[in-house]
């Protein structure tokens, strides 16, 4: 899927919220792109846009093309019959609350399979995500967080979509379960799917991502191969995030992210930037070697 110039704005009580500004990137088969950033930076809105799940007051610009179809321009019928579950499978945040509490995991998974790809075997799907098929007979409250997460991943795979979109799939899980979920998502990429992982957990991203996109105040500020970005961040914000990790120095970035209703001109990171607070020129991504960086004075 090729996403070009994606912008999302909301009008709330007369104020304009710029949730996503001019995002361009590609989701490629066999790759896992992790989109990281602080809470409230617009990550989840970006994900919702790709599934046509934005509320009615959203104004969307740009395109997201897959097999000749622009998902952003598609009408509800196309989204429902061709996109959701079939082109793009969603692994939700908080799997337990995503499942219907009054039905067993099996009955929900069966329904998804029946609607999307009836020839698939439900037990086989469970095994593929590392879930014992007997567990499918349980109700959601009888499943642990990790088991429910695997049921949710199995549901995302029901329609065998080429793209998997995982929105904070590991929040609330403990580290071994985070690692397991990450390995499972990495496995889906290795099978030839394109995976977009949205997370604030840098350790999780480091474990499984092949590519990394860093988002700050509605814009992508750095995009490149994950190993390279982790080893040598070029944007001061990326550098600040990595420096805040326990193993990176444990130094917080001073200040707060700006309000999406009051973004400063030019570089939105300017007020917190240790390098320069005078960058008022165009903050869009520019090429630095193999990397795309939205900084005129990269570290």
């Amino acid at each position: 899927m090729i996403v070009e110039g994606l912008s999302v704005r909301f009008l709330v009580r007369g104020a304009e919220v710029r949730a996503v500004t001019d995002a361009s990137f590609e989701l490629k088969p066999g790759r896992l792109l992790a989109l990281v950033g602080e809470s409230g930076c617009g990550k989840s809105v970006l994900a919702s846009a790709l599934l046509g799940l934005l509320p009615g007051n959203a104004e969307v610009r740009g395109s997201a093309r897959l097999n000749g179809l622009d998902v952003l321009a598609a009408d509800e019928k196309t989204l429902a019959t061709r996109v959701r579950g079939r082109m793009v499978g969603l692994v939700p945040q908080s799997a337990v609350t995503h499942l219907t509490p009054v039905r067993t995991a099996r009955s929900q998974l069966k329904e998804a399979v029946r609607a999307l790809k009836p020839e698939q075997d439900v037990d086989e799907l469970a095994v593929r995500v590392g879930l014992e098929p007997e567990l499918l007979d349980r109700y959601p409250h009888e499943l642990s967080g990790g088991m429910a997460q695997r049921v949710a991943i199995a549901m995302a795979l029901a329609g065998d979509p080429p793209i998997i979109l995982a929105d904070e799939p590991t929040s609330g899980l403990d580290r071994p379960l985070v690692d397991r979920t990450m390995d499972l998502l990495a496995g889906l990429a290795e099978e030839g799917r394109a995976v977009l992982l949205i997370t604030h957990d840098l350790a999780a991203a480091r474990r499984s991502a092949t590519d990394l996109a860093v988002m700050y105040a509605s814009r992508l500020v750095e995009l490149g191969a994950a190993a390279e970005v982790f080893a040598d961040p070029l944007h001061p914000y990326t550098s600040g995030l990595l420096g805040a990790l326990p193993e990176g120095g444990f130094r917080p970035i001073p200040g707060h992210p700006p309000e999406l209703t009051h973004l400063p001109d030019g570089c939105a990171f300017r007020p917190r930037c240790p390098v320069s607070d005078t960058c008022t020129d165009d903050p869009s991504l520019a090429r630095h070697g193999d990397r795309l960086v939205a900084c005129r004075r990269p570290c």
Binding site: S39, G146, S171, R175, A244, G255
Partner: protein, 210 residues
């Protein structure tokens, strides 16, 4: 010292969540507690903050055995122990502004409801203090919850997965505030987390549960 000896606790009859647990939280130091989901860490947090009465065993606060829990706990004991939970949204009254959230313990205990330097210490500024929980991010709300926990200058602070929902930068900032309190006021901290890397830089020693 805040300690638990031979603690047994649970919610349903015959199904103990904690069985025979010993723990000692010393003043001026951070004890880390690590373990997988469901091993009873949060139940221990509730017992040590006097929010849940153990079935057996003893909680001692600076040498005094705690005899009453929950609403019956004496004010002096309750207010000596602060707590920050994992999910800030479930820990605040949605009708309060951040300022009201932070000063509530002061007001409830007969102190002037002045926010003083508390807000500044956790990195909350003027405009944010006037907002309600739905108008701020998880990180900003957790900052308010930490300020609230510190408002009465507790001798002990229990942080139950305080940073699990937060990004790296906010995590480092909030842990920094707790560390200042440990250094300046000699607060004893129990830091419950499943993040070993975090406990590695935060805790003076770590107790691990299987």
């Amino acid at each position: 010292m805040l300690s638990g000896t031979g603690l047994v606790a649970g919610y349903r009859k015959g199904v103990p969540v904690l069985s025979n647990v010993d723990i000692q939280v010393e003043r001026g130091a951070v004890l880390g507690l690590a373990g997988p989901s469901g091993c009873g860490k949060s139940t221990l947090a509730k017992v040590l903050t006097l929010l849940h009465e153990p079935w057996a065993g003893r909680v001692e606060l600076d040498g005094e055995v705690v005899r009453r829990f929950r609403h019956a706990a004496p004010r002096a004991e309750r207010t000596a122990i602060g707590v920050v939970f994992q999910q800030p949204r479930l820990s605040v009254d949605p009708r309060f502004t951040l300022r009201e959230i932070i000063v509530e313990p002061l007001a409830a205990n007969g102190f002037p409801a002045q926010i003083g330097e508390l807000a500044e210490r956790v990195g909350l500024t003027g405009d944010l203090l006037g907002r309600r929980p739905h108008e701020v991010s998880d990180g900003q709300l957790q900052r308010a919850c930490l300020a609230r926990a510190l408002a009465l200058r507790p001798r002990y602070l229990v942080c139950d997965e305080m940073t699990a929902m937060l990004d790296a930068s906010t995590t480092a900032a909030l842990v920094g505030v707790v560390q200042e309190e440990v250094g300046a006021a000699g607060t004893g901290v129990l830091a419950i987390s499943h993040d070993e890397a975090l406990l590695g830089v935060w805790a003076d020693r770590v107790q691990r549960w299987a």
